[in-house]
Amino acid sequence: MTTTQRPPARSHQHAHEGAPPEAQGRVLSGADILLECLKHARATTVFGYPGGVVLPLYDRLPAHPEVRHILVRHEQGGGHAADAYARATGELGVALATSGPGATNLVTAVQNAMMDSVPVLFLTGNVARNLIGRDGFQEADATGILMPAVKHNYLVMRAQDLAPTFAEAIYLATTGRPGPVHIDIPKDVFLEEAEFRWPERVHVRGYQVPGAADEDEIRAAAEAIDAAERPIILAGHGIVISRASEELQAFAERAGIPVLTTLLGLGGLDQRHALSYGMMGMHGSYHANMAASNADVIIGLGMRMDDRALGRFADLNPDATVIHVDIDPAEHNKNIHTAFPIVGDVKETLPQLTAAVRRASHPEWVRWIDDLARAHAASLSVPEGPELTVQFVVQQIARAHADDDEDAIIVTGVGQHQMWAAQHMNISRPRQLITSGGLGTMGFEVPAALGAQVARPGASVWSICGDGGFQMTFQEIATMVDEQTPVKLAIMNNGYLGMVRQWQELFYKDNYVAVSMSQPDFIKIAEAYGIKGIRVDEPGQVDEAIREADAHPGPVLLDFRVTADDNVWPMVPAGAALSETVESADEVA
């Protein structure tokens, strides 16, 4: 059963313990109650957009100066910004929208947070209670629409329920496998008065937060690990979410097991570590994919056995013994047959495993992978030559920040540039890469950069933007100007929906349909928003442009005129197995 015990080092714990909030027991309006809740939970940064039904709430904002409301330019942007805020810090993000179109504009952002297990509280207003269900102006069934896209959601019908609902919502959002939670609030509930009562404890009888794993299961898995000759670790987002990097490293070192990561697992282990073998998956390295395909024991840690990471499920190494540690039992045996499903938080289960396994090393196996890595380094190298490539640009951005005290935060859109960023930016710290993994949401790059910078004002935030994705949400530049967030927006201007072009080239016989795009003059967009714009045409200009952008105190837009027809390698063709990784167009039948 659920109790308020939660894993340490998680946010918002304070909201569940200690002194009751100052306003406890006072009679307040629903709007004030909600704002008191935000303050008590220290979730005081809200990315929002007003509208009729939330006006009673906006009316009370000035009375609560501790709450920072950031006026975005589109609710989707607000949702992505709150999502990135949460990814950058591990703390709850908050987005607010009005009823009807405001709520429906959130849908992409909600599902994006859901797929990547990000703790975000989505607040929407709704029409007054007596109008619900009558198709009044700007009524949408936000609760129904978002139901399958959230960890949980609520329609609050009384002001007195606001505080307990809020407490429960943030508890659900931030514990266990985190995720988005949505609260829908009718207009007149904001106006109704009730006593503010923050609950002493939150208890949800249908909700469990796994912590440590069953010791018998750990022992059984440890035996399988001890017996392995070619073990491999697949580390996922769970390592980052649970702040379990040290625990991962300790386990890998003790058992002598090479570590691969998923896209969202990048940063879970420092890539300079001897046992780090980089990213696996559709655009993972050749040696990583072969290592996963040839291992005799596969240990999945805080990852959900996704098809982009694993390729064709049936042929992911059918002979291997699979051990799968995840906090969400529903991930076990969903996609991959698992001999040892272990339910638990990796933060707690990894020390258990480390204590249970024998100290070991696997020199032959490691040498086999090392040899492969050397032999296949070419397909993962940055092309040399006179042309300006995305690979080179992102590599130089990473190098320019390699010695920063606080790492540059790298945000990406979705497409080729995202994969090249993942490959070449040497992501080595948790929360350094903020990217849309599960949903693959183009347009994430601009609002997410805003959210990351708001969350970590001291960090340099570089957003690697697709020229396609940028055009989906770049209105948030206006928000960056308002909030004075010095984000660097590096547009990889290839004139194409590059990743789609790559698929059409390789799998649709060069039949290019709807992938070539005329582009606006991006520098003029920068000018229109009053921010600095830098155009880069040649490799020789790259370093200077990066320096100039970093030196500039405000937002900067960089228009990198990169080659148009490059492809991301290596690649696991859609529907293929990891063992079928190819490294050039010649290999694609």
Binding site: P148, K151, D161, T165, V202, R205
Partner: protein, 193 residues
């Protein structure tokens, strides 16, 4: 294979929506779903008949458990359980052949609960197979209307489908859970401008 899955759920608006949406979205095949209240205030019970192999049913159970409003899930397929469904069957018959129809009903232990000059409603409370057998025998007379509730199941003996902790809840939260958002039937209870 058909599995009998029993779920204890919070009696709240939207629960049925969440469960139905889950089955639809993940492509799980529901044969029947029956919901009703339990002896405990605030808790409803569902009996869900799912078609699929072990692996699918394992996923069904885990995905159900993932819903915050689902408190407990149990697969009763392999346990000793009482399985029943209620069927109401309206059969075409006149004074001429009513006796035959009622004889069939007797054999299958169904009861006549309504009579008209040209029809009879039979009520059967039975396991699925017996209801099917009854139906097969009635078809030649003309089944005018059929309503089946779907299976409800309960473990035999003293063992019960129950959830563990009942006292972790503070009084405040209990009241909140108990009252929140539950609209009495009929009129919307809240009025505003």
């Amino acid at each position: 294979m058909l599995h009998t899955v029993v779920a204890l759920v919070e009696d709240r608006p939207g629960v049925l929506n969440r469960v139905a949406s889950l089955f639809r979205r993940r492509g799980f095949n529901i044969e029947s779903l029956a919901v009703g209240t339990t002896h405990e205030d605030g808790i409803s019970r569902m009996t869900i008949i799912v078609d699929g192999h072990e692996g699918i049913v394992d996923q069904v159970e885990k995905q159900l458990m993932k819903l915050v409003d689902v408190i407990k899930v149990e697969d009763l397929t392999q346990t000793e359980a009482v399985n029943r469904e209620l069927a109401l069957i309206k059969v075409r018959c006149t004074a001429a052949n009513r006796r035959e129809v009622l004889e069939i009903a007797t054999v299958f232990r169904a009861q006549a609960v309504d009579l008209s000059p040209e029809s009879v409603i039979l009520q059967a409370v039975a396991q699925r197979d017996r209801v099917n057998g009854l139906l097969d025998n009635l078809r030649p007379y003309g089944v005018m209307e059929l309503m089946r509730t779907g299976r409800v199941s309960m473990r035999r003996g003293t063992e019960v489908t129950a959830y563990g902790d009942q006292n972790g809840e503070s009084e405040e939260m209990h009241r909140f859970h108990h009252e929140s958002g539950r609209l009495p039937e009929g009129e919307l209870p809240y009025v505003s401008d």
